[in-house]
């Protein structure tokens, strides 16, 4: 088991914004059971602002902590601002992740983008331009 930062353990112990949402405006669903991480992220959007965000995650400590952190980072932000939150920003906010766990942060970014993609499809009929979730496996 890798050793995690205090920040990671804090978000693992007390995940923020965990749960489901009634009638979300966008749902992101990424990952697969084969690699052992699945994230679902729900957003509520009002006047282009993410007013609420919730997540559910099946996965390791890092998967849960990155999910929790990204919800904190995007809550209250506009769609454009939220899209600028990268996996790197999530890792930094968590005071780092062990190298073998970096793919969890990529998954968290994808979960957010997937939710925004879903929201845009529902509200404008067009998804997030160029959005394509990463492969579930870490880059070679």
């Amino acid at each position: 088991m890798p050793s995690y930062s205090e920040k990671v353990m804090d978000h693992f112990r007390n995940p923020r914004n965990v749960g489901e949402m009634e009638s979300p405006d966008g749902i992101g669903h990424v990952g697969n059971p084969v690699c052992g991480d699945i994230m679902e992220l729900y957003i509520k959007v009002k006047d282009n602002v993410i007013t609420d965000v919730k997540f559910k995650t099946f996965g390791c400590g890092a998967a849960i902590a990155t999910s929790s952190m990204i919800t904190e980072l995007v809550k209250g932000k506009t769609i454009e601002e939220a899209l600028k939150v990268s996996n790197r920003a999530v890792v930094e906010a968590l005071d780092g992740l062990p190298p073998v766990k970096l793919h969890c942060s990529v998954l968290a970014e994808d979960a957010l983008k997937s939710a925004i993609d879903d929201y845009l499809k529902k509200s404008t009929g067009k998804g997030l331009p160029g959005f394509k979730p990463h492969d579930d496996h870490p880059p070679a």
Binding site: P33, M39, K56, F58, I64, V100
Partner: protein, 386 residues
């Protein structure tokens, strides 16, 4: 917070009697066993005493025991040692799908050199079918390697039967007995074993020492070429304190084996029966043909590492077959081999008990663990969709 150690299959605390037996061999009796002077002779006597004790535990002759740095080296030695020495007979080896990587990885290495390896499947409880072993043997087969008991799921294999088949076919038979050595009775002759691996730190001995039993007459190349120690089979100055400790641990195991099992089995069964009460809990491994100290479950819809972290927060040390942290993200090959789908294999937890485990420890696990699973399931997107 009281810490509870339930990872005895990973390693055990050195028995105080073992540590005491080793102590003089660091600074007082420090000679090199190969030296002919009195200092060397004292060390030599200690090494040979250790060898006798280890041999006795498995019904072997002392000269058939070669000390190694541990179980991994013993497995490597067995596989590569037989492969390289018997190429005139053939290049085919048979192993099971649930072997420790210390056996399967050397086989992968040998495949690159032109050897052929048949990997036998196991059934849902992890058992190898001896009939499959028989069918897999060809005129080119030089080694069969099936572990005595699996380190993850605790299933004890039908070694005696596989040994008989190997003997009839005239093929060397190796068993990785790292988990059973000192825990269940072993008789290398009754079991028709030609090679057997063990590691001292799994039986309350020190780390850094193990052994390979090599039946007299077995054709092997040396593992280490060097000073001719261990009858030319493993060059390197003997780890005298380690060997003394291993010998003491073996001696204690002979004396206490049945007492230890009588202590462990009821605690193991209490833990199994308690964890079974959790919804969607699946026991891994054979219900009866099982190590006295092994409990392994998959809990559907949750991931192993997050369970371990929660247990660790409660002071409880366990292990998992989830490989969320491995580069491949592949879960345990053992759990996949017994037919667990990936997402369920990721949700495994192994508790392995030992001589210091108490009933209060087990009660505490049973108190806190259901809540951990429930908490994680509430977070799991897989759970709501069942």
């Amino acid at each position: 917070m009281k810490r509870i150690y339930l990872d005895y299959a990973a390693t055990t605390p050195t028995h105080p009697d073992v540590a005491a037996a080793m102590q003089p061999y660091y600074s007082d009796i420090f000679g090199n066993p190969s030296s002919i002077h009195s200092f060397g002779r004292e060390a030599r006597a200690a090494v040979e005493d250790g060898r006798e004790k280890v041999a006795k535990l498995i019904g072997a002759a002392p000269q058939e025991v070669v000390f190694t740095s541990g179980g991994t080296e013993a497995d490597n030695f067995a596989v590569k040692g037989v492969a390289f020495a018997n190429q005139s007979k053939g290049n085919h080896m048979i192993i099971s799908a649930i072997e420790h990587h210390a056996v399967s990885a050397p086989c992968d290495f040998l495949k690159k050199l032109g050897f052929e390896v048949t990997v036998l499947p196991v059934d849902g409880s992890g058992l190898v079918d001896p009939a499959d072993v028989k069918k897999a043997i060809t005129p080119k087969t030089i080694l069969i390697s099936v572990m005595h008991a699996n380190n993850e799921i605790g299933t004890i294999e039908p070694i005696e039967e596989i040994g008989r088949i190997s003997k009839e076919a005239g093929v060397y038979f190796h068993t990785d007995a790292v988990q059973t050595f000192g825990a269940v009775p072993i008789d290398v002759n009754k079991m028709n074993v030609d090679l057997l691996s063990a590691s001292a730190h799994k039986l309350y001995g020190p780390k850094g020492v193990g052994c390979l039993y090599i039946r007299k007459g077995t054709k092997m190349v040396p593992f280490m070429h060097g000073g001719g120690q261990e009858k030319n089979r493993r060059g390197s100055t003997e780890n005298v304190p380690g060997i003394v400790g291993f010998g003491k641990a073996a001696e204690l195991a002979i004396d206490e084996m049945s007492v230890r099992a009588q202590h462990l089995v009821p605690l193991r069964d209490k833990l199994i029966n308690g964890l079974k009460m959790i919804d969607d809990a699946v026991l891994n491994g054979h219900p009866e043909k099982r190590l006295p100290n092994n409990v392994n479950f998959c809990f559907k819809y949750v991931e192993g590492e997050s369970m371990l972290l929660n247990l660790d927060m409660e002071g409880i040390a366990a292990s998992t077959g989830s490989a969320c942290s491995s580069a491949t993200l592949e879960p345990s090959h053992v759990l996949l081999a017994i037919g667990r789908p990936h997402e369920i294999a990721h949700g495994s937890v192994r508790f392995t008990l030992g001589r210091l485990t108490t009933e209060e420890d087990i009660d505490h696990v049973l108190d806190v663990f259901p809540g951990i699973v429930e908490k994680l399931r509430k977070m799991s997107p897989l759970y709501k969709r069942r």
